[in-house]
Amino acid sequence: MWAMIVKEFRQLRRDRRTLAMMIVLPILMLVVFGYAASFDVMTIPVRVMGPAAERLAAALPAPFEVEEVDAAAGREQAEMALRDGEVPVVFLTSASGATVLLDGSQLFIATSTKGALSTLAGRAPAGLTVDVEVLFNPDLETSAIMVPGLAAMILLFVGTVITSLGVVRERQAGTLEQLAVMPLRPTDVFLGKIAPYFVVAAVDMVVVIVAGTWLFDVPFRGSVSILAIGALLFLFVTLGIGVLISSVSENQGQAIQLALMTLLPQVMLSGLIFPLSSMPAGVRWIGYVLPLTYFVEIARGVMLRGAPITALWQSYAYLAIIGAVVFGLATLRFRRSLAPARARRHRAPEPELEGSAP
């Protein structure tokens, strides 16, 4: 056994990247995820509408944070603001009271709002009624928000983890050099490698959404094609990340570790589990550079709220930008993997030092 332990330590010592990941990563994750892991909603952004909007806005205590007051707006505008994801809570005032409209697709904010309203109820002036109406996910079911998120996670898993093994497997099998000297352009190899994963992930996505809506009664209110466009964009990003990881990894172990390193932050910091609004700003910004954040936004927006593409254009734009950056880096790196090994340049032939062979 001693021989085995020594051998393993020697191998581990030489695999510097793995060693660094084993030591640095847990500390980093503990700090980042420790701050991120919170279901507590500290502030609730609200919009106040209707004839008594000014008066109510002035009276709303914390945790409510009034973002906009619009006395001229009515029910239609309120629902539209929620559907488009502009704000999670709208106080719609009338002469006799107020109706609080909640976006049920933002589960934790909706729950916190209900809690905050119940404490406020005792302090409401006599004769003023406050009704609460939850839209898009009236029963505040967790499955309703998780199924679109799970669909995104499956795309992420197939796109990143499985693809990340592709190039490194070729390198370890010794077939990468063979590909490098074949009459194939790097883009042919690149696209050829990701195409099957793309198809499988797309099928996975359809199966998960159909099964999710059927088994868990999750509504699908929006347009299938709008979601499909978002899924395609997201898939390209995840496949690009997979190829990028694969082309910088020396072995399959490193590829898996790197893939997990990109997966975990996305799961934890994208708003899939913990609401982004609960995270401190120092951690929240990480969520805003992760592609899953935007696809979760798109999937929940389209499926639960029936949001149109105009309401989600920012998420599409960010996904496209991240996709362009990741795909560009992956292509460059992949090109390098297939390029001839560079020997050191010589200025001029060096003279033979020894006598000629017989």
């Binding site: 099998a173 010794g174 077939t175 050099e177 063979q178 490098a180 000297v181 074949m182 009459p183 194939l184 001839p340 090994a341 560079r342 020997a343 050191r344 340049r345 010589h346 001029a348 032939p349 060096e350 033979e352 030092l353 020894e354 006598g355 062979a357 017989p358």
Partner: protein, 284 residues
């Protein structure tokens, strides 16, 4: 058409892998590159096919679709069947499917792989995989076929099959360049380049290289002592000792042997080693 390299120099970090090596590979000829481990054979072949960009020197090779290459591994996919591996190569090289199937069928039949066409390559023996690798490299009838130690670790029967494929490729007009560490096998090549630590030791036909050995080689049952021991090596149960001098300068005697290729390459390596030592040990 003659492919090849001229004045090739390759340095990886501080290690000089090739020091001004030249080699011609004309169409229809089997050119062998021989040498021990670390001689520079693989680097030379990788430069020839474009897998390594040399630091200095000229490489003449056809466009990539006219090159067939077997790297030091078989270059086949273990999770694809024999037929699927060949289909991939044929498609990548733009061989029409009907033509590719006919050619693959002939090669598989001739090399005893026909019955294994549906088996996963990962389940094949080393020799079968190696034969498949060579077939894969020549399925598109390349103008330049480069094989890195195709027969290493292969049994004699499979080796004969491989040589049939190699001869076939040359007969079809390919310039075949193959590396091998086996000198008995290298004698089957029409032209040889012997390498040692990145330097060209000798070049010519196997007979020419053997005939060009300077000095004499004597055989003995015991290893000679003193200075001569540095110039001696074991062949079978006996020892051979090289004495420098002009080629054919000693009259035939009972213990003087006529050098073969093995002796010639060994003497060339010894001569280089002695020259380096005499120059102060600073091998380039």
């Amino acid at each position: 058409m003659t492919w090849g390299v001229r004045g090739l120099m390759v340095r990886f970090g501080e290690h000089l892998a090739l020091a001004g090596v030249s080699l011609d590979a004309p169409a229809g000829r089997v050119t062998g590159v021989v040498g021990g481990d670390g001689a520079g054979k693989t680097t030379l072949l990788r430069c020839l096919v474009g897998a390594v960009a040399p630091g200095w020197g000229e490489v003449r090779r056809p466009e990539s679709r006219r090159i067939g290459y077997l790297s030091s591994t078989s270059g086949t996919y273990p999770d694809l069947s024999v037929e699927e591996n060949l289909a991939f190569a044929a498609t990548a090289y733009g061989v029409p499917p009907v033509e590719a199937r006919a050619r693959a069928a002939e090669y598989l039949e001739r090399t005893g792989l026909a019955s294994a066409r549906d088996r996963l390559t990962g389940h094949l023996s080393g020799g079968m995989r190696q034969k498949l690798g060579v077939i894969r490299a020549m399925v598109h009838r390349p103008e330049l076929l480069v094989l890195d130690e195709p027969t290493t670790g292969i049994d004699p029967v499979s080796r004969a099959d491989l040589w049939w494929l190699i001869a076939r490729a040359a007969a079809e007009g390919a310039a075949v360049v193959l590396a091998t560490a086996y000198l008995d096998e290298a004698e089957r090549a029409s032209w040889l380049l012997a390498l040692d630590e990145g330097h060209a030791l000798a070049e010519g036909t196997p007979d020419e290289i053997a005939a060009a050995v300077p000095g004499t080689i004597r055989t003995s049952t015991e290893r000679p002592s003193g200075d001569a021991s540095r110039r001696s090596w074991r062949r079978g149960a006996r020892w051979r000792t090289w004495t420098p001098g002009a080629a054919g300068s000693v009259a035939p005697q009972a213990d003087v042997v006529r050098p073969d290729l093995h002796d010639a390459v060994t003497v060339a390596a010894l001569a280089r080693e002695l020259a380096v030592t005499a120059a102060g040990g600073g091998a380039a």
